[in-house]
């Protein structure tokens, strides 16, 4: 008789024991309450790894509404290979970082599979990216964004604290890059707004708004999620070392053409 009522309980415990999803969701709040609300500004420091469900994008709330040229570019860039999971990049042969070795740049770096580390110092918040060994400088000293910034891969960023949320504005981005791994295009008029909040001890959530009147008919929003990795240190990831070492083409590229031996 005792077995009968224990079985459902045991099944539930078994589910808990083997489910990475349950582990992830239930583990977070355990140590979370201690570190929240008491820190001003909140501590975002640490290594974070992207765990956004549709990881190649910023998980748009609604599909972006494009200007005609951008729509045409998106249709070309996106990966329509059947059976590709959502984590997959846009078309490899058109990807500026994979096909032609350009720096990844912002804001795409925030959709990459490799981790980043946040450091908070007196006058800025730094984001160190494993990919490209890139660094984002978010100035929190009260300065304004430049009126007419020179374009760069990382852009110009300022940040301010809104309660427990770091609000970051970025402009001055080169249009050579993709906006995300999925291949959304953008122009040099892109204004990125990110609201960064540590929602639990081991979760960082960023709510995004992308405003780019040259590429989109209206601003669009998205959300990405990152997991705290206290035992990780940043390694190094450089996109095109293989082709530099192997005469301009990677061995994979040569193999596809039937030239590898």
């Amino acid at each position: 008789m005792r077995n009968r009522w224990m079985n459902p309980i045991f099944a539930m415990l078994t589910v808990l024991a083997f489910s990475p999803v349950m582990f992830a969701q239930t583990a977070a709040p355990l140590g979370a309450k201690k570190t929240q609300t008491s820190l001003h500004p909140p501590d975002l420091t640490g290594v974070w790894a992207n765990i956004t469900e549709s990881g190649a994008t910023f998980n748009p709330k609604e599909a972006p509404s494009f200007q005609p040229w951008a729509e045409a570019k998106w249709k070309t860039n996106k990966n329509d290979d059947p059976g590709q999971p959502l984590i997959t990049n846009g078309r490899v042969d058109l990807d500026p970082t994979v096909a032609t070795c350009f720096p990844t740049g912002m804001p795409r770096l925030m959709t990459e599979v490799f981790p980043f580390e946040i450091l908070q110092v007196r006058d800025r918040v730094l984001i160190l990216f494993e990919k490209d060994y890139a660094v984002g400088h978010i100035w929190t000293d009260g300065r304004k964004l430049p009126e007419d910034p020179d374009p760069s891969y990382m852009g110009q960023s300022i940040g301010r604290w809104d309660g427990d949320t770091l609000v970051v504005d970025t402009i001055g981005l080169k249009d050579i890059t993709w906006l995300d791994r999925a291949g959304h295009p953008h122009s040099d008029a892109l204004h990125v707004n990110g609201r960064i909040r540590r929602v639990t001890h081991d979760r960082l959530q960023i709510d995004w708004t992308f405003d780019d009147p040259k590429a989109f008919t209206k601003p669009w929003t998205g959300r990405t999620i990152y997991r705290y990795k206290p035992d990780w240190i940043l390694e190094e990831f450089i996109s095109c070392e293989d082709r530099l070492l192997h005469g301009g083409e990677s061995l994979e590229q040569k193999a596809v053409k039937g030239h590898v031996q």
Binding site: R2, N3, M6, N7, I9, F10, A11, L13, T14, V15, L16, A17, F18, S19, P20, V21, M22, F23, T26, A27, L30, A49, N50, I51, N79, D81, Q84, P85, I87, T88, N89, R91, V92, V98, V113, F114, P115, E130, R227, W232, E235, E236, F237, I238, S239, C240, E241, D242, L245, L251, E252, K254, A255, V256, G258, H259, V260, Q261
Partner: protein
């Protein structure tokens, strides 16, 4: 790692492989009937497999696999001639000898050094002269190049490079 609910300490839930699962209560011990044990084991295996699929799926999916014949899994046995610890993918060069004694030079591609490093790999994990078996997908066409998801060493040790995050 086994997850225990917050109100349940290590002593409360215990796996005893020799004679099945038990729930160990604070006041006494309750053994689950033989038939139920099998059902629970099956359930556990199914849930574990589902979890593995969630984690393992993206291993080969990050950049898409349109260059590879993912409909066939190939197994290759050979001797390592070089291990290149390079970006964006570490490469194992190895010789495969067929029945007639003819040697074919192959390249096996795996994850990036940063990802491998976090999984305990180093530049010394694969050494020149090692006898290895690689399991993976061959590039489309006839080139001797595979993207491998598992490597088995001569002593039986297996490594499966996993997803970045």
């Amino acid at each position: 790692m086994m997850y225990l609910p917050p109100n349940c300490s290590q002593g409360d839930l215990r796996l005893t492989p020799k004679d099945g699962w038990h729930i160990v209560l604070r006041k006494g011990r309750l053994k689950i009937a033989e038939g139920t044990q099998m059902k629970i084991k099956l359930l556990a295996v199914l849930i574990g497999a589902a979890g593995l699929l969630l984690v393992a799926g993206p291993v080969i999916a990050h950049h898409g696999r349109s260059n590879y014949d993912v409909t066939h899994t190939v197994t290759l046995k050979g001797i390592v001639t070089e291990f290149e610890w390079i970006n964006p993918h570490a490469l194992i060069h190895f010789d495969v000898t067929d029945e007639s004694g003819k040697v074919e030079k192959w390249v096996g591609e795996t994850n990036s050094p940063n990802t491998l490093s976090r999984q305990g790999w180093s530049k010394n994990t694969v050494k020149t002269g090692d006898q290895i078996t690689l399991i993976g997908h061959r590039v489309k066409g006839d080139s001797p190049y595979i993207n491998f998801s598992k490597i088995i060493f001569a002593d039986g040790k297996e490594l499966s490079p996993a997803i970045a995050n």
